[in-house]
């Protein structure tokens, strides 16, 4: 119980319903440890992105309780949300780069929103762009970048402000395996510095690469193991491998 309380994220019987249809997520209960590394996996349409939306505060649950950073997210005042959001980094499944900004300005965006002074922006952004292999492409608009390049800009943007929680939705769907390994290494490095990491993915190689990671399986909006404790020790593959 004390351990559960120290979790950076707690879901209890969370349900999510879009409009008037059936519940997209039902009875979701789990706790994420601070500093943990989690994979979220499950078939297409299972509800991974929906669950992440709750985590990055883009959506309120229809029912249930969510605590993050020791605060009740569901009932909390709207004015306090921006502060929490700045502690979370997100790689969206569809990137969501701002089309009118250069790669550099896209990556710098979280720093600028947080009010970091202009002269303290160039160095970290440039370094981050180098890390994802785009040091030369800082001036390019998203439309002139390849799919994988856009995805890497999205990753750089998510990690630039050293968030306490990093949420990545299928972050390697458009890059080659070498680049995927490199990006995963970046996540691991952040994780070692204390960032809690949640990655939704279909990529079986990714799942097997982080030996310390825990895997959360979701299917048809439910996390099959109903105890509410984390299950799926490393090595249990969610799909048959070919």
């Amino acid at each position: 119980m004390a351990l559960a309380m120290s979790g950076i994220v707690q879901f209890e019987n969370v349900g999510l319903r879009y409009g008037t249809g059936a519940e997209t997520l039902s009875d979701i209960s789990f706790t994420l440890r601070q500093g943990g590394f989690y994979f979220l996996t499950g078939p297409s349409g299972a509800g991974k992105t929906s669950l992440l939306k709750l985590l990055y505060l883009a959506q309120r649950p229809s029912r249930g309780m969510i605590r993050m950073f020791d605060q009740d997210i569901v009932t909390m005042s709207r004015d306090l949300l921006p502060g929490l959001r700045r502690r979370i980094g997100v790689v969206f499944q569809d990137f969501r780069l701002l089309p009118h900004l250069s790669a550099f300005d896209n990556v710098a965006l979280p720093l600028r929103i947080a009010g970091v002074r202009e002269r303290e922006i160039y160095a970290p952004v440039h370094e981050m762009l180098n890390w994802v292999g785009l040091g030369e492409r800082g001036a390019a608009r998203p439309a002139t970048l390849s799919g994988g390049e856009q995805q890497r800009v999205a990753i750089a943007r998510a990690v630039i402000a050293r968030p306490e929680v990093l949420i990545a939705d299928e972050p390697t769907g458009n890059v080659d395996p070498d680049m995927a390994a490199r990006l995963l290494y970046l996540f691991e490095a952040l994780n070692r510095l204390g960032t809690t990491i949640i990655v939704a993915t279909h990529d079986l190689h990714l799942l097997s690469r982080i030996t310390s990671a825990e895997i959360i399986r979701i299917d048809a909006g439910r996390i099959p193991d109903p105890t509410g404790q984390l299950r799926n020790p490393v090595g249990v593959k969610p799909y048959r491998t070919p």
């Binding site: 990055y56 505060l57 883009a58 959506q59 309120r60 709207r78 949300l81 921006p82 502060g83 929490l84 959001r85 700045r86 997100v90 969206f92 969501r96 701002l98 009118h100 900004l101 300005d105 710098a108 965006l109 979280p110 600028r112 929103i113 947080a114 202009e118």
Partner: protein
Amino acid sequence: MMRLLRPVAGERQLLPETRLTGPVPWMLAIMMLMAVLAAAATLAIDNGVARIGGDLERRITIQLVEPNPDRMEIQRAALLGYLRREPAIAHVQEVGADELKRLLAPWLGDTGLGADLPVPAMVDAEIRAGVAISAISRRIMAVAPSARIDNHAAALAPVAQLMGTVRAIAVMVLAMMLVAIMAAIVLAVRAALDTHRSTIDVMHLMGATDAQLAQHFQRRAAVDTLFGGTVGLGVAALLLWLLSQQVAAMESELAGAATLSVADLALLATVPIIGATVAALVARVTVIRTLRKML
């Protein structure tokens, strides 16, 4: 005002430097132009009416039509004598023969005044404010029974009436334009919000506050409206100047009366600034209201 226009540090990199939407600033310019013209027309007519009421109304023209030249001369002397003595008369001016000929030419043709026609006498007089024209008229008729008195205001009644109609239309156009400008700004801000919706969503999820996001849109709306307003005002100023040239060329005392004072012009010049401020406020309210609906 200045605070609205000052870019926030690093703001250039936060949101796109696009106008509200393509045609909107230009349409705003046109509506501002119409608003300024309508306001100018209203003010000018008010000034004109004030002049007619104040100035022209107190002026009369007395004509002596008397075929017998001797009697004419007696009455003329009596009339001028009376008018010059009368304390209620501020100013007396006899119309000269040349001026008379010019005035009568349309009626009498090129042959002009000959021996077979009596030469009328004509006197312009200005009555002091507060004195009834009817009292003066009766006294004039007593000293010069052949006198015929013309009151300028009465002659100008249809003009005043027409001016009233034009003024009513101008006020209507002005009111319509003001409503339309407000509506256009609201609609344009909404359209801009729609266009940049995904950008707002993303920034919102990165922890941008409502104020941060509103800041940008309110500045952009202010800049766009200021642009539209300044263009509209500029064109309006040009048109008003051209019109004033035309009016001056007409040499009409009446049209000349309908001019704009410096204060009026200053009032008109504030239109874009007021527009920009209103636009900024509308934008702010619209953006914040939209954002409130988001988590």
